[in-house]
Symmetry: C7
Subunit: 96 residues, 7 copies
């Protein structure tokens, strides 16, 4: 089964992040980041401008990205969880 | 009886999804996806741009799609339940 | 007395729908559709674009339509109840 | 004293409507219309488009109209009550 | 001291209105108008369109106007109270 | 240290205003103005239009202005308090 | 690891500010500024206009800036905390 995001949407697989500090200490609310790391699995064909033109997205398949925790929709595909969000909810590309 | 969605709207028949995990375990809120699977039954003639032009939709009849659970309007046609939503509430096309 | 809707508005006479299931069973909230069926009685001259142009509506007099229950304004004309709504609140045309 | 509405605004004198049914029966909320009938007393010079152009209004002095009960501002001119609203809050013109 | 409103803003001196009916009777909420009368003291140079052009305002110094009670900002200049509001909050010009 | 506001923003030093009436009487809420007086200390290079062009601001360094009490952000520079706001939150220029 | 902000976004490292007055006195709410100081670590390629064009940002790497405390998203990169925000949430550039 293949999932093709529509328009300016992107399919993302969340990458695990360690949820405790090295010493295992509880992090108070203000010290916790509000973003998640993920890998781009598939991208839509682009954003439709108001004049009907389509502009290709900036992120590509396999990009590692930081995205806003509060955007997007969770989807389950063949038992695996993914997130579909608009490119505008992606904050940055991580180059390692 | 035939139903012709207007403009950028799409008529969708929801496809059933199993609501429990394989072992029948209750899924906590954060683990449940917020999207539904459906089949496109009919599409509108396209989205009207601000300059009056009409741009055809990207989804087609018979497409399997993932759509946002919180968009659209439920309609009942000859005893069957459907959903009419704007194409922008469709997240992705599923190719099997 | 004749009522001429303004601009992109449409005058609709609601068509009755049976409010119980065949067996007369109460329908829980989630199983009830959120749309109504109606007949178009009169249409406005069209939608005004931002550049001042007017684009004719897609629905026509006598069309049977599905419309969103939460849009529009109820009006009473010579003792009869009607609804005036913007074409954008019409979901679909029904062809029988 | 003459009142000249600005831009896309219209000055309206509300026409009385009988508030009870013929038999004097109380009307429950859902059976009461949400619109009012009025007569156009004066109109503004037109709607300003985003490019600065002005487009004349569709309603004219002496037109009988239906308007949304929740739009506009009440004004009192020489002891008489009127309503000033934007043309977009006028639902329809009544031709008798 | 001279006050020059910026852009599409207008400086207005409110004109007193008698707050009781002729017979001194208390007016219930629904019978009270929601607008005020004022005199234009100074006007800004005009409204900036999205393309950067400036369009002169329709009201002029000394115009008597009706304006929405809920728009604008109160300012005190040399002990006197005024209101600065955008022209769009002015409902009508009064010609006496 | 020099602070250069970005785009359509303006750096303002608030000018003191006497907070009591001449006789020292308490002013009820409705009689208190909702604006403040200030001096323009620095201005951004201008407002970016939707087409990417930049239009210079109307206010200049040293202008005395009235601004809306509820707009802008307080900043502290070398121990002194200032306000940075968008030109659109400036109501008027005071010429003395 | 390198982080490349997307579009009109900027990666910022917050600069510490002393949170007490010189005498160590508690500052009441109204006397506390609502902005933060930071250093620009990386910038996106620019803001996408509605017509698809990209306009370069005004801030550059190494700029010291004042930004709104309530904008942006906190991110943690290799144990260090950063903020990613849209250029429009940057108030001013500090030149020392």
């Amino acid at each position: 089964m293949k999932v093709k995001p529509l328009g300016e949407r992107v399919l993302i697989k969340r990458l695990e992040e360690e949820s405790k500090t090295e010493g295992g200490i509880y992090l108070p609310e203000t010290a916790k980041e509000k973003s998640h790391k993920g890998e781009v699995i598939a991208v839509g064909e682009g954003k439709k401008l108001k004049n009907g033109e389509i502009v290709a997205l900036s992120v590509r398949k396999n990009d590692k990205v930081l995205f806003d925790k509060f955007g997007g929709t969770e989807v389950k595909i063949e038992g695996e969880e993914y997130i579909i969000l608009k490119e505008d909810d992606i904050l940055a590309i991580i180059e390692e």
